[in-house]
Symmetry: C2
Subunit: 271 residues, 2 copies
């Protein structure tokens, strides 16, 4: 009987942790919900830890003390990363994705929750040890990617707006030269959206010259906070960038709008 109960508990734990990666679950609360002693629960967790480790599914972290509990940090195996990059390359490498003005149509990819979950996990893994307070993005196409990254880390998502007319209370705005729109644009963030001394990472879909990314650094500085990393779904090769340290899943090696040709390769997975 105890045997059966244990198996059920482990199945339930597995579901609970996988449903909310990065979330701290209190041991006492879990034990109460499972109707078992904390010691039994600790044994269950040890078993599940081994299963996850053995199958390359990530770590279950145990925090001790009164604020203690368990947190699941899912992992993409090196093979999982390779498969993700390969799949993204195949999806992006299509002439129909080439838009006038050197743009790429990525909207459908960004709106694919299963794909973006894995992209989010890729970034979460890179930035996990930075002791972050929030994930930062700028509207619009970066939002789904950043949301999935935030979800994997159990962190809040903060969305910078590129329209200062928005009514979200007192905001801090900065102007920057957008490479995409080739003009001075504004982006802003409500004052209450970010506490002083926040540790952040910036996630977006596309890195061209880095005008927006550089603007983000200025904006973050206005909040007396720090941006510790940047991750993009795709960056452009060769152009002199305004930001130097960043990760990308893919690199756009060449794009010829006239001829509707493009070459996409593996991005910058190391700094």
């Amino acid at each position: 009987m105890e045997k059966i109960k244990r198996n059920v508990r482990i199945a339930l734990l597995s579901r609970m942790l996988a449903s909310s990666p990065g979330k701290l679950f209190s041991l006492s609360q879990c034990a109460e919900e499972m109707g078992c002693a904390k010691s039994s629960l600790s044994e269950d967790i040890a078993i599940l830890k081994d299963i996850f480790t053995l199958h390359g599914l990530g770590k279950i972290e145990t925090l001790i003390g009164t604020q203690g509990g368990i947190i699941y940090h899912p992992e993409l195996s090196p093979q999982g990363v390779e498969e993700l990059v390969e799949q993204l390359c195949q999806l992006v490498n299509h002439p129909e994705r080439v838009l006038p003005g050197g743009f790429l149509y990525l909207t459908d990819l960004v709106g694919n929750p299963e794909l973006m979950s894995r992209v989010g996990l890729f970034f979460a893994q890179l930035f996990r040890d930075l002791n972050l307070d929030a994930i930062l993005t700028v509207e619009t196409k970066g939002i789904p990617i950043a949301m999935m990254t935030a979800r994997m880390l159990g962190l809040p998502l903060v969305i910078v707006r590129n329209d200062s007319r928005i009514s979200e209370g007192t905001s801090i705005g900065i102007s920057y030269l957008s490479g995409t729109q080739k003009r001075l644009v504004t982006m802003s963030l409500p004052k209450r959206a970010l506490a002083k001394n926040s540790r952040l990472v910036f996630i977006d879909d596309f890195l061209r010259r880095g005008g927006t990314a550089h603007g983000i650094l200025d904006l973050v500085a206005e909040f007396e906070s720090v941006c510790l990393g940047m991750g993009f779904l795709i960056d452009i090769a060769g152009e002199d960038k305004l930001v130097q340290r960043y990760f990308s899943l893919l690199t756009l090696e060449m794009l010829d709008s006239e001829a509707r040709r493009l070459i996409v390769s593996k991005g910058r997975h190391q700094l």
Copy 2:
């Protein structure tokens, strides 16, 4: 030995399904990855089904045939819905959220992945049986909610832009009278973003008079598609709406910008 293997398989299945709700997993592929016969896997699935059902965690659906496999449809129990609404009410019912012009500051809630996962699940559950092709939203604050809804249903997210300057290829745009901005505004969607005859649901953060929601109906009609439902994080009580059939998690009963007072209650959970 077989006993241990089964338990490990069930823990792995539980994690896999919970990580990708709404996704169809092929039985053959699962059996191969688990290194077991399909018959054993079917028994594992039956056990896990019972565990999930018994604990009110949702259904595991088995599709038979060559395209067959299993799909996990997570569920919010009635108690889970009540807790979610209660938590949202408490979070929203703060005078500091009242912004000039009758607006509410919701940005932090929308950027909370764990909270939005449950909000997404609430909507997913309402719209699960509509045989949908995609979830529709309009930038900006609706995106995280709609993304989480799409994730729970394993469906693509389609984002309507309210800026026609965006370069996403040939787009269809419509103009509508925005109640919020009290002026004629435009929203647009790339032609390739939506196939003809798509079955859709529209998800957004806020329903005031419904100018945007009504515009969405017009836009969807331009794509020869159909919007079968609408869900909002919060709607405003009393105002004569341009759309009649919708769900909301919360209702803003009263908001006095001058006095910084508001009353929030349970929203419209039935049509």
